[in-house]
Symmetry: D3
């Protein structure tokens, strides 16, 4: 098991839906025109530099569509590839390959796009800070996108509302930070309890209340540095809000432990990967 | 029925999966900390200019999560909004609103992102050419993304492999254009039969064979203009490959009837929309 | 609850799939052309005499597609209707009504077809014998078709392999009738244990072994009469195989208690029912 | 890939539901009586002449029920078989074979019934006209039935509401033919736009408006011939309504390009196919 | 096929849901820490004496999680095992084994718990009476639990409301015993029609009306004996209500044919079975 | 929102499956015998003292089965009830109430059984220690059972493998404690990292490595006290293995912060709750 791989049940389910979406009710009208028995060899080829993610999805698309197709995959999730590099080779029925092509590439290009943009943030942040994702993922694709973030060298913030406590400003309409952290530690023992802070005084209150992390939201690098000094290593500090490739290094330099960004899941352009028939 | 709305069965299914993804198994740990009975009013507010898409998904998220929430939505799909504008107002349990927030926004921001980028392409193309989407959609979200394209003023190319015949270069490994078109017209009567052409001579062959459309792939505007002259209005001409906001106007000026781009679905950044609690 | 109605979970599930099948991914291209706000009143009208079945499905189609549609249904399942009779009236968005029309009618016409043909067999058999269905139902529609059989005055043989024991000739390759009945009574206590008999001597063996029913397969009415005399009322006698509207009366006269036929589910022509817009 | 085969995702899904329908919750009570280890060879045998459809479903039923069963299938979808002919042979556990029998045959007999009746219409129409199906399919079985129509030599009209534009009389309550065709061409570029015509003047209006097909509904062969002359080959002409084996030749002779009938999907009697144990 | 095995579609579905429940969205955080390529051999070992049930579920968990795992299972459902006995051995990726462990054991321990407690009731009842289960099963697990009851030597009462008629006291608010039995025999021919009786006079009425079984509810063994004498072997007698390991022998001695208890499905403690890594 | 309530998507899904399980394919044979139009009022009544859980499931069963039923529920999840107390009252069709009865009670009795047994452990542990559940839940019911644990005053350990890191003995075949904790903190930042310790020296290693919790497995209360002294409040200490109502107090007295037991989910007897028709 590659820790960058998404859980197989999530892969099977997403692929099943994607194939149904593209094939029902009549199947592939165009592939049906091909004479029977024509076989081919095809290569998945990167057309841009990037980080691969989605290999398990490609394999599952081929398996669900035509179990006689043979796939030899060279680039496990997390592999850095250059434009022109061959990621994998599939052999078998030409019709099946052409029918599978788009669905397989839709997974591969999107997830590799996520991994690639994540890697750019990771590189820009440097060794000091860790890039974290968010819950701002595309509906139905969370497990796959979070795995792609890992493939790109990022780490996963909570997978769902069910995993950690994260007290945001709007929660504070109903109770204050000290109460919130206290209740959280009582109701959900041993869990991460993070508090979103917009101001320096909130940081101190959160730490005092027993929060296990603080999230500094929409602060400048200078403000972050101030809060980091205040926290003084007692708990990890996350920064979020307005993080870009341009400023992520500054936030890392300011001492943030974790820098989270929704851009890598919500706004990652697809990585350009194609399928070339090499032997018809 | 708003023709920009996605089919309700697609909405229900996608929303159900998205909520399960975010809530199972323990529910929202943080909202559970709120004292019972706290209610609030919250506004969906655009933080950027753009085109709205995804209203049906927002309503469905609220309905599936807590049927007692009341939503008053002002901006049906296709509405052009400015930063700061209120798209809709929800009232009810603060805990329910905060639990629903991210899932609702994940749909709304992504789909509005698609609509907004589509609208930019539509505006750049001008009145002469129509912007078309592709099958390069995010797995499991095709129906929603294609509706968002319509909301942005674009039009939908085929919804799936099952809808039209589109003979691409790789299909021609198994048969030639004339054969392909002939078989297509015989096997799938009365359907659109489009042929992807990389060269001028293929265009002529496709028209002669009876194709109902040609797709000019990866040609320059000048090459497109040549092919448009060759076709001379006999059938519509689609252009694809390397279309950008910068060159889409040139392709339109070259006479293409339809210009398709995967960018609008596969690489659209999310539109920034937030939820503001206005009355806790 | 009308005992002719199928269980609601089966209805919801079948309708959900049918709507998805007809609407994804782009929705109803044609209804989308209608100007917004046009409403209509439409009538479901029988174009042939027959027995209605499928009312719950019609209601569910409308509900799932557009909850604002209003349905006033006059003809609960089991109602005998004449050509020209109005079964129900729907009011609301013209676009929604036209989108729903075919899916609703596909259920209604098929299930009413089953009910109507069942009724013809019931009438031909007369009061003496009961018409029974079989497991030869269309895949995915068993609950609905078996309810339609009830609506037509027939009765339901076992709903699935999980319900009764029915020892057929092929089972006897592995064990004899006496053994089979003995094991059945031991393994599945208190259940119906029926034995298919092709010959008179098997009937006697089955009764002696403790079968609670015999199935006379592919016998003539005269042979049936002989077996009925042999059984002499000790257990019910079912007849199956080659039953037609022409000979069902003869089988009933021969003394069969139950006459089963796959024709009513597997080969029932649709009942012609249409939707008339009465007020556009 | 056989173009007569339905898409595999549709097969898997329909088979899974059909098996659940027949086996839950207790499994096959009767097969459970057989002594363990009994194996058999069984043949699927046509009991009537006809056209085979549904082979993929048979294979999938066996695979999902008991992956150790071996199937050797001789008659791919579209094969014309005579009564007595062996379609395929299955070997393995007798209990598994008997449990699978009815579900496999329910698919095979229904779909072959569709293919067989389609073939009769195709033969009756002759070479001149093409037989088309409709959306009047049994709920949940559209993909399978449309593939069976292809196996019988027919062709598929639109797979769903999402595929083509077909303006019917009821749509004209909201807009006229010219408007409808104009909007259709604008909203759904490059798609088939068909207009249902009850009268000769509508045909002319539809052609003038730019419809790509006309559907002549409920006209006599003579009226059809008149409209065909009017259209004069400019666009294809479909005929529907009241088409029977008796009159389909007349409609073909009248010059219709496509003749559509719901009878082949909605009212096709099952083809009689049985399973014979040949070696217990 | 082992008649103690649950139907495979029920197994697949339950296992798929259980794995999703334990793995989504991020997979097994801890197994991801293991170095790649570490393999192991592990044994499923009984830690208590008991009866095994759930083998098919174990196999399916491993297959769905990692098809490269090899399972050698020694103890088919229904096997009596002693503490310390090895039930099966799995080999392959250590990470996969550890990820699968809990889900596999959750099925195995619960279902073996059901089988084991059933066996205790069966032994306590002795040969004279049969232990029957009820519909008081855990939601979503009925098919699996009913199979586990069989594995423990018990037998299955009706699988669902759809299988037999069982007239309970509350039904008699709407009609009397004679009417109920009469309608049941008319509406659901050839089915078991059981009547719950709280009093001796109801027993006589039920038998006279043609019930095929009576259920004596909450009677003492002495009262049961009286009713058994009254019935005098005409139909089987079931006893339910307050049955315990302590009194089940007395009920059996009182002449009950079938003794049903919800304890075996609703309140069976898990059988302690562990997974031991024997070779890391 | 009651924090003891399970997430609504989990409720809907589980209820839908449970109803299908009990009703398909023919519906409730017995309820179908009732004359139409009979209504009733019925009370859910506790027959034992205990803690209620599952109210949302009861409401959902009624809603999915017959939306016209009216439920007035008095005892939200977490309520302590005494034998004889009325939990809720339902009014409407007698047939619908009787059809719903068993499915509703199956949820309510099982989940209340979990809550009740949890409460007994909570009371036995006293104020000092918190009772925690485990992942040893019944397949498919995790979200509901974990909510029932909360209703009983317990707290939830991790919801799935995806939520926390818990390094067990078997993981240490592939890496040592220090490595495991180090990788965990690197790969899954800010998450709980717990280490299972069988020996005192492991506890010290885990704390030193940076674990955020230790789990003392299968130690005696005296051993636990020793380890608690060693940890000296640096991180929380969990105890598991062989915890019973008899010894849970001793473990609490030994200073464990959290005491986890699988008994409360895996071996909780159903709480006896019945449905009494009070007005037929």
């Amino acid at each position: 098991m590659n820790p960058f791989d998404p859980p197989l049940p999530a892969v099977r389910d997403a692929v099943g839906r994607a194939l149904a979406e593209d094939l029902l009710p009549l199947g592939d009208l165009t592939a049906a025109l091909l004479p029977p028995g024509v076989t081919a060899t095809a290569r998945f080829v990167a057309r841009q530099d990037g980080v691969v993610a989605g290999a398990r999805c490609v394999g599952e698309v081929l398996l669900q569509l035509d179990p006689t197709l043979l796939l030899d995959w060279h680039a496990p999730d997390g592999t850095l590839v250059a434009a022109g590099e061959v990621l994998g080779v599939v052999e078998g029925s030409l019709a099946s390959i052409l029918t599978a092509e788009r669905t397989a590439l839709n997974f591969l290009c999107h997830l590799s796009g996520v991994a690639t943009l994540t890697r750019r943030f990771v590189d820009a942040a440097g060794e000091r800070a860790t890039i974290w994702d968010t819950r701002k993922t595309l509906p139905g694709l969370r497990a796959l996108e979070k795995a792609a973030v890992r493939a790109g060298g990022g780490r996963n913030h909570r997978g769902s509302l069910s995993e950690m406590v994260l007290v945001k400003d709007n929660h504070l309409l109903g109770l204050d930070i000290t109460e919130a952290v206290g209740r959280a530690r009582e109701m959900w023992p041993a869990r991460t309890v993070e508090v979103e802070c917009d101001r320096r005084d909130q940081v101190e209150e959160a730490v005092a209340a027993g929060a296990t992390m603080v999230l500094l939201d929409n602060m400048s690098p200078a403000e972050v540095a101030g809060c980091v000094a205040l926290v003084a290593g007692r708990i990890p500090v996350e920064v979020s809000g307005g993080v870009t490739l341009a400023n992520v290094g500054a936030y890392a330099a300011a001492g943030a432990d974790l820098i989270s960004t929704s851009t890598i899941t919500q706004s990652a352009p697809a990585l350009d990967i194609g399928l070339d028939i090499v032997d018809g």
